[in-house]
Amino acid sequence: MKVLWANIEDVWREAAARWTLIAYFLLSTVFIIIFASAINLDIVDGALAGAKLFGKEVEMHDQVSIEKLVLGFESGFSAVLYFLCTFLAIFATAHLVPRLQEKGTIDLYLSRPVSRTKLLLSRYVSGLLLAGANVLYLLGSIWLIVAWKTHVMHPRFLIAGGVILFVIATLLAFAFFVGVVTSSTAVSIMASCGMFFFSAMLAAHDRIAAAVSHEWQAAMIQTLYWIIPKTAELGAAVFAFVSGNAFGSRMPQMTATPFLTTAAFGAGSLLLAIWRFHKKEF
């Protein structure tokens, strides 16, 4: 536990000293302020009588249920926040392993009575806590603003943060593996972002497999789809979860498979990172 505390303190102090923490939360705050000031609602007897978006009147044909409006807002914003939180987390934490592995630094950490597994996992948990704090800050603030302006509270919007954090945890594990192998922050960021988009692209794996000219290419596409994380499906899961499937007809049926395969990818990446870190000579 002392090792974990030491690493948490180290990671947070580094984030604060290098402006990462400030930039991280400042960007989130800018997003929150824009959100808070952009929406102006006129609620009469629990129903929306009028609304302004970025100062412009929104045309209202009938009175809209405020419950439904909040659900729509939060569902839409959860999808935006899914991207925002994930990418901010990657940028804020991808340096954790490369900086640790710098000559003259790693010696100081590994000469302590701490196993390499413990050191790497403590670093991972510290990074995840940093990302988790930002997810909580972003989602919590927006949830509070919506609750303050509409008096409608949907706990599902907050809980969706768990799914976002799950994706961050998976990509952070991958960034750790790349960081251990390459000792490069830039490569860790590129690989994690690349993985996010490549995986989103493979959501259309069936159509891509049907379009390729060789059978082995189709098999490769299908295999890759099952191995790598399902960022598109999990983004859709966030939306579906927040909306409570109110827009079910427009969303594909959610199953546990994207969660399980993504978790397997994250666990596999972390295990590979630990294995490589153990083998590494400094």
């Binding site: 000293a17 590994l110 000469s111 302590r112 000579e281």
Partner: protein
Amino acid sequence: MTDSLIEVRALRKEYRAGIGRPPITALDGIDFTVRAGELFGLLGPNGAGKTTTVKIILGLTAATNGVAFMGGRPVTDPESRRRAGYLPEGHKIPGYLTARQAMTIFGRMSGMSSNDIKERIPLLLESVRLPQWADVRVKKFSKGMTQRLGLACALIHRPNVLLLDEPTDGVDPVGRREIRDLLREEAKNGTAVLLNSHLLSEIELTCDRVAVLRNGKVAAAGTIDELTRRTEKYKMIAAPIDDSLLAMFRESGAGVERVNGHLVLSVNDLAHLNTLVDGLRARGGMLSELAPVRSTLEDVFVDLIKAPEAQP
């Protein structure tokens, strides 16, 4: 049961040089021990294997063959580092931390309680002459100050083994003396100190025993006294010294040089030396001083490094 806190046996390390190339041998079966309360120096030219040895002892690198123990535990066990302090060469204590924060983090990583850390920090900062710098960020420190802070971080958890790589690098002469005194004090309290340095004068002034590495092998090992004594050369101050005495010495096969009013005798062995003393006394001469001529550690080091390597 021995009181060895560091023990290295037949340690061998090979580095892969690339596909199709033979491996590079960094260590070729070295042995040594460092006992409790001993200041042990590891010497050698660049690439001799000094840093590799220290890294193996600390588990930073794995040995290809052989074994190493620290505090009685194999170095592959992280617990062997429970009471080990390390100051690496060119260490980078994160610049965003203050001295106090750095010592707290490394103290915690060594399993210390918060109260214990709080008690130790002012004492250690005092002993490395940085008490007023406790809450200043490390990035503002000079090289010498960073080095002294590194030593304080290495000592935070009261180690009984200290491994120091160039500890006086960048430190001013007064600071060097203080570091030497600090290391002697630690050794007096039972700490085994392994010092790795290019500064032979520092090693000579600090260490009890040294091992000289050359091409991954221990070329020589022993106390400073043993290594710097030239057993075949003696300084003799006696009276009277006349030409007939010198002729007698030379006839016995001894080399004789007059240096600043005394004689430097090169003899075959101790029996030969005693024969010369007997000859002097038989002539009524009075012996006032007879001492082995010592070389500096640097002389020994240069001779060892330049000497052709013995074939197996």
